[in-house]
Symmetry: C2
């Protein structure tokens, strides 16, 4: 599953459109991501710290008219979520995100319950971001247990193991691989989700690194991604990787995308 | 570890050079692969069925003068191996390959013992190529046991799980992932090796598929590859993937290759 990440006020190219209430720019960006293959659209205006709730309401209203895609409300701000959630009643919603931090868990959970949303659960506790595989697994166990106990259905839980940069964290990818493998084995039905760009932070040619990382974590069972769906090379990596891991029976999807001109960076085998 | 695969008489571009004893063409191809980063050079003239031993002797003599790289004698033909092995006494040798087939194992093993070569061991028995993960693991256990019992040091064993095409074998990659993971866990010190191109057989844009497959199996522990080292995109995939899996501390190798212009298919992250 692909969550289109482009409508985010921390992106320089988008911020002015949100700042100036430029609905047409937002609509175009929503449609562009839908055309490119997004299954959900992320909506984030967290950098507008003073009036995030109003901005999120405006964005939600604009985007829900522009597309029928499910929406991912991306905010830790309870007021913003409380204002925007009642506006969406005709499609699935994902809330991005909850953590194992006590106060954040307790403030976000009632909204997830009331609006029966999907929930992205980050491997983060009151001790901070998980570092080792063991840290992550401990937080995963706690999050899953607490969410299921609170009547959140497993298929609505999206665990995010929190990818760290390989440039600054030694062996950053391994705990992600192992955590995803653990979740898929121990909790069938629960999803794993992540963003990609953090892995390449601080290095040149980030998108190349992101593509190979995507491919690797798909092989370990990651099934959902928050990414830029208009990046054709990245979407190529996504479809090729799914074909390799057996999710694309008879390579039907691969061949269809090929005929539509995806996989632009390849050349013929000789 | 990279085994350069280009000197192979089944490749149309190379066959004439072997047929006509064109030493200069072979020397050029050896040096080109060395420059491109090969650690070993594969030598295969198996398509010359009538005089493979003579051809292999000629190739070995030409190539050992052209480069100091270790050589990988790629033949199941005992006569060819027996003729060529004594010619190499100044560098490591890899024999490609042995299997768990009774007659092949018994005929190749004495050469491995006598010349203390490394040995590529294919997941193949008298019942044919292994199909499931369980088949592969059973053959792996037998091969490792029989080789170690015969005084072949573990660090000289290169297990090849035998990659099958995803287009014709449902879920072809998964047993490869699991077998490599098993080997690395159960038999530390033993290498895993494979060719790549078989995985994409029958599909368009094969090199793109090969690159992502390379990346995925590196994440599971595959450490050696028989491939075309002059394919820059593929070598890019190799270095990026090693950086992601923590084998490239502080990303030193990645940055060095970047400054040297590798990773040509990338563009800047924005």
């Amino acid at each position: 599953m692909i969550v289109g990440e482009l409508i985010n006020s921390s992106r320089k190219a988008i911020r002015p459109a949100i700042k100036d209430y430029d609905a047409n720019a937002i609509i175009a960006l929503a449609k562009k991501q839908e055309m490119a293959g997004a299954d959900y659209l992320d909506i984030n205006c967290g950098s507008f710290t003073l009036d995030e709730p109003d901005r999120l309401v405006w964005l939600t209203n604009v985007i829900k008219e522009a597309t029928k895609l499910p929406l991912c409300l991306d905010s830790p701000n309870v007021n913003a979520l409380t204002a925007a959630l009642p506006l969406i009643n005709d499609r699935p919603i994902l809330v991005n995100s909850i953590t194992a931090e006590k106060s954040r868990f307790e403030s976000i959970l009632p909204l997830v319950q009331q609006y029966r949303t999907g929930i992205i659960a980050l491997c983060m506790s009151d001790k901070g971001i998980a570092k080792t595989t063991e840290d992550r697994i401990r937080i995963v166990d706690k999050l899953v247990n607490d969410l299921v106990k609170s009547d959140v259905p497993v298929e609505k839980i999206y665990l995010d193991p929190m990818v760290q940069p390989v440039a600054t964290t030694f062996n950053a990818a391994k705990p992600i691989f192992e955590t995803v493998r653990y979740v898929k084995k121990e909790y069938p039905g629960i999803h794993c989700i992540c963003g990609l760009s953090n892995v390449s932070f601080g290095l040149p040619n980030r998108q190349l690194i992101n593509r190979y990382f995507l491919s690797q974590i798909i092989a370990f069972g990651m099934d959902s991604f928050i990414l830029n769906p208009t990046d054709q090379l990245l979407m190529g990596a996504y479809y090729v990787s799914k074909t390799l891991t057996g999710e694309d029976k008879f390579c039907v999807e691969y061949l269809k995308k090929y005929r539509n001109g995806l996989y632009a960076d390849s050349f013929n085998y000789s």
